[in-house]
Symmetry: C2
Subunit: 172 residues, 2 copies
């Protein structure tokens, strides 16, 4: 079976909290879901139109001062589709990890160390970034959603810490 475009679910999810413009969804994703769900900017506006055509969202022109923008609200049909997706079987991510692919074919130890160093730098940056997000999130008022997101975030942090340890073991 052909795999379905899942951009729609990311957008419907974003609309769950209230009406959003394409631009807001874009920047929201850039700040949050980007760490586990990357969307190209250009997919958002067309998908909002599609969702509107399907009756999953309704557009409304809104003004902020003189700035015009189009706010989309999720409909009951939209909520239903989102719920159906959440409850449907979740595919394991199709892993394509270039780092591991390189590692798999390497025999030279020097090359491995170089690869690890490069990776370590990137992973450590990610780790710092995650810790900042954690601090920000901790400052928000408590809610079930906050608890879930914090838990997910800390899992990500633990994974990164594990990898850092793993990488360092061979470099040092």
């Amino acid at each position: 079976m052909r795999s379905v475009n899942k951009t729609r679910y990311a957008i419907l999810g974003a609309l769950l909290d209230g009406p959003c413009s394409g631009y807001e969804i874009k920047s929201l994703m850039g700040r949050s879901t980007v760490y586990f769900w990357r969307e190209s900017d250009s997919t958002i506006y067309p998908m909002l139109k599609v969702l509107a055509e399907e009756g999953k969202a309704v557009p409304n022109i809104d003004y902020v001062g003189k700035k015009k923008r189009e706010l989309f609200s999720i409909t009951e049909a939209g909520r239903a589709e989102f719920k159906a997706w959440v409850e449907s079987p979740t595919g394991l991510e199709t892993s394509r990890n270039e780092f591991l692919l390189k590692l798999f074919f390497i025999t030279d130890r020097g090359e491995m160390v170089r690869l690890f160093q490069e990776r370590l730098e990137k992973i450590e940056k990610s780790y710092e970034e995650y810790k900042k997000i954690e601090a920000r999130l901790e400052g928000l008022p408590d809610s079930p959603r906050k608890a879930i997101r914090l838990k997910a975030l800390r899992y990500g942090i633990a994974q990164l810490a594990l990898e850092i340890q793993w990488l360092r073991a061979d470099i040092l």
Copy 2:
């Protein structure tokens, strides 16, 4: 910049150890790289032809009994390209994790538990699979390559163990 097709590197890597037929590469990947590098079967044969046209590999007709097959050997140009790829900057994987996307938008605790249970079953299966591969790998004669692969594998196992622990914490 447009992203490059990396199937070629997976294939060149497979050829490093010696001549292979498309079928052998296919089954090798199905047994090994599939865990971090998924290739659709249908990409392999055309890419071998392309590599041959580019002078990165040379085909040779080979017979096993009466069975005909086409064995490809890597050329110096092929090795050079592979080496250049290994030494080039490695992109971080483009993460698209449907599980985390769902989690991010969930507010209902019951839904979360259901999602975790589903995930746990899959991750535990992967874990068992990885442990089997580890046992097989441990049985092979020692070599630098074995050491590297075993290390990578155990990292994967540690990651899975971490996730299992993380998932269980909320289900139980």
